[in-house]
């Protein structure tokens, strides 16, 4: 039984007390990075104040406690996404980007040969594009794209044709620009029918809907701690135990080995094989606290609240500006998340963000690391507003008012 109240989440979030240019902060950039609750910040300070030591192989008391804290974070995350093999399937990385690099450089190099196809989509973040281009340079693979239709959704009409020769389908669960939520279960079924694996970029969805890797029937899931109320500097790669067991190491060094001799080394098994060097321990502890906090909110209630915020904002944006404000993303609420990209007639996104900042409103201008998608819609940039579990309808009030100033200022 949870009792989710966004106002309580807000009062749990210290940064919400900031005053920016004389106005209380209106934080609408959670798609870039979310704001951590006190529980996360305190878990990290407590760790440093009471337990900090290097993890693994320690014998003294705090080293044992630090290892326990690190490993229990791994368990919390395994629980959170329903990993069938438990914490042995959770690899800690630096961020979502590193997780994709790990898949490409470890699994990709070992399993893909010239001519094999990695199928991604036109709406991917650069993190799910560039590592595949890099692999193409060394491995001669083909990188293919599922197109995005004028309705801002994946065009799956030719999916069976596109799947020819595909060994990996790698797709975002939710676009960080459009807000489009993709049909991951359906795509997993397609991939497996064609003998391919499927990787999911859950960076945008993981803190905004429940993730159940078993139910989705997918093979890899990646995300970043800092977009789910956790700290920066930590990300996650989940994959099935059998896949992980066959993946060669990624970075080399201490921690990832079973043995090192004068003539070579033997890698460790399990997730530690991919965690070379001293890991981000405090960050893992913080992420563990974030996941427990999210579980306490109840993802179903968070989804309902963010849907209501998004629906209301879409209606007011459509009604309020006489057609001058165009939403770049689905206009209806079916399969759509709380990310709203705006193209305002006659006002550049940079100028919008600048004017909004004067009202304490944080929105992000730019290409959002999705340049192929921006090109697809003939845009150089958008101004993007995005909600989190602490967002309120009053944030939309401030956004609309500030946007009104920007629009009238530029005539």
């Amino acid at each position: 039984m949870t009792s989710y109240d966004p106002r309580r989440v807000r009062s749990d979030t210290p940064l919400m007390n900031r005053v920016i240019n004389g106005h209380p902060i209106t934080y609408l950039d959670s798609a870039s990075s979310s704001l951590p609750p006190r529980a996360v910040i305190e878990a990290m300070s407590r760790y440093y104040e009471l337990r900090h030591a290097n993890v693994h192989r320690g014998v003294f008391q705090t080293a044992v406690e630090a290892t326990d804290a690190y490993e229990s974070a791994r368990e919390a995350i395994a629980n959170f996404i329903g990993a069938p093999g438990g914490s042995g399937e959770i690899v800690f990385t630096k961020n979502a980007t590193e997780s994709f690099n790990l898949i490409a450089k470890s699994w990709g190099r070992a399993n893909l040969t010239p001519g094999d196809v990695v199928l991604i989509t036109e709406m991917e973040h650069h993190a799910n594009i560039v590592p595949w281009f890099q692999l193409r340079e060394v491995n001669g693979i083909e990188v293919r794209f599922i197109p995005v239709g004028d309705d801002f959704r994946l065009d799956l009409s030719n999916i069976d044709e596109l799947m020819t020769g595909v060994k990996l389908l790698s797709v975002t669960s939710m676009s960080n620009v459009l807000g489009t939520i993709n049909p991951i279960k359906e795509l997993a079924e397609v991939a497996h029918r064609h003998g391919a694996l499927i990787a999911v970029d859950a960076a945008q969805s993981v803190a905004h809907s429940a993730t159940d890797v078993r139910d989705l029937d997918v093979d890899f899931v990646i995300f970043s701690g800092h977009k789910m109320l956790g700290p920066t500097g930590i990300g996650v790669l989940w994959t099935r135990e059998d896949i992980l067991a066959d993946m060669p190491p990624f970075l080399g060094g201490g921690g990832m080995i079973a043995d090192v001799r004068l003539d070579g080394y033997t890698p460790a098994s399990g997730p530690t094989r991919f965690e070379a060097g001293t890991p981000p321990i405090a960050e893992a502890v913080g992420l563990g606290a974030a996941v427990r906090y999210l579980e306490g909110l109840g993802m179903a209630d968070v989804v309902r609240h963010e849907r209501s915020l998004t629906e209301d904002a879409l209606t007011r944006l459509a009604d309020g500006f006489a057609g001058r404000v165009r939403v770049i993303g689905p206009h209806d609420m079916a399969a759509r998340g709380a990310v709203i990209s705006l193209d305002v007639d006659g006002v550049h996104p940079h100028d919008i963000a600048q004017v909004l900042d004067q009202f304490g409103v944080c929105v992000r201008p730019g290409h959002h690391c999705a340049k192929p998608l921006m090109r697809r819609f003939g845009l150089a940039a958008t101004a993007r507003a995005s909600f989190g579990p602490y967002s309120l309808h009053s944030d939309t009030d401030v956004l609309i008012e500030a946007l009104g100033h920007a629009v009238s200022m530029f005539g």
Binding site: N21, V347, H348, P349, H350, D351, Q354, V355, Q358, P365, G366, H367, M374, A380, A381, M409, F410, G411
Partner: protein, 153 residues
């Protein structure tokens, strides 16, 4: 709001809405240089015609925010028809304007070192220095113009 009005002065908004010297020149003979600001996706192309040591014509195309667009328009108006020596001088003065730190601005908002009368309408861009992330927007056209002049050497 006063800061915002410092940034978005009427002259700037005017040059943004109706940019001067917009368009292309046949190249060759015109020098054609491209400028990018990867941070915000601003892109522009500057065309230069140079005759007898004079910048006889300049045209600019591209897209970007109000600051980059107005700065390129103001620049084109300031340098068109000037001798190359004068053009380099104006570029130097403008760059100085952009590097004057906020703290060195006098109370009436006038930078200590730059003679604002000498640069005319360009002075409208001085509010940009209060917004460090936007300085790159303002200098894009100027750096592109400098690159074009370097091609002459």
């Amino acid at each position: 709001m006063s800061n915002l009005e410092d940034l978005y002065r009427e002259i700037i908004l005017d040059h943004y809405r109706s940019p001067r010297n917009r368009g292309e020149l046949a190249s060759p003979p015109a020098i054609r240089v491209e400028g990018f600001n990867p941070l915000c996706g601003d892109e522009l192309v500057v065309y230069l015609n140079v005759e007898d040591g004079t910048l006889s014509d300049i045209k600019i195309t591209g897209h970007g925010c109000s600051i980059s667009q107005s700065s390129s328009s103001l620049m084109s108006a300031a340098v068109k028809g000037k001798s190359l020596e004068q053009v380099r001088e104006i570029i130097g003065t403008f760059k100085q304007l952009m590097t004057v730190h906020e703290s060195t601005l006098a109370h009436d908002g006038e930078p200590a070192k730059v003679d604002l009368r000498a640069i005319g309408e360009l002075a409208a861009l001085q509010g940009v220095v209060k917004f460090p992330v936007r300085i790159k927007c303002a200098t894009l056209a100027w750096n592109t113009l400098s690159q074009g002049l370097d091609q002459l050497d």
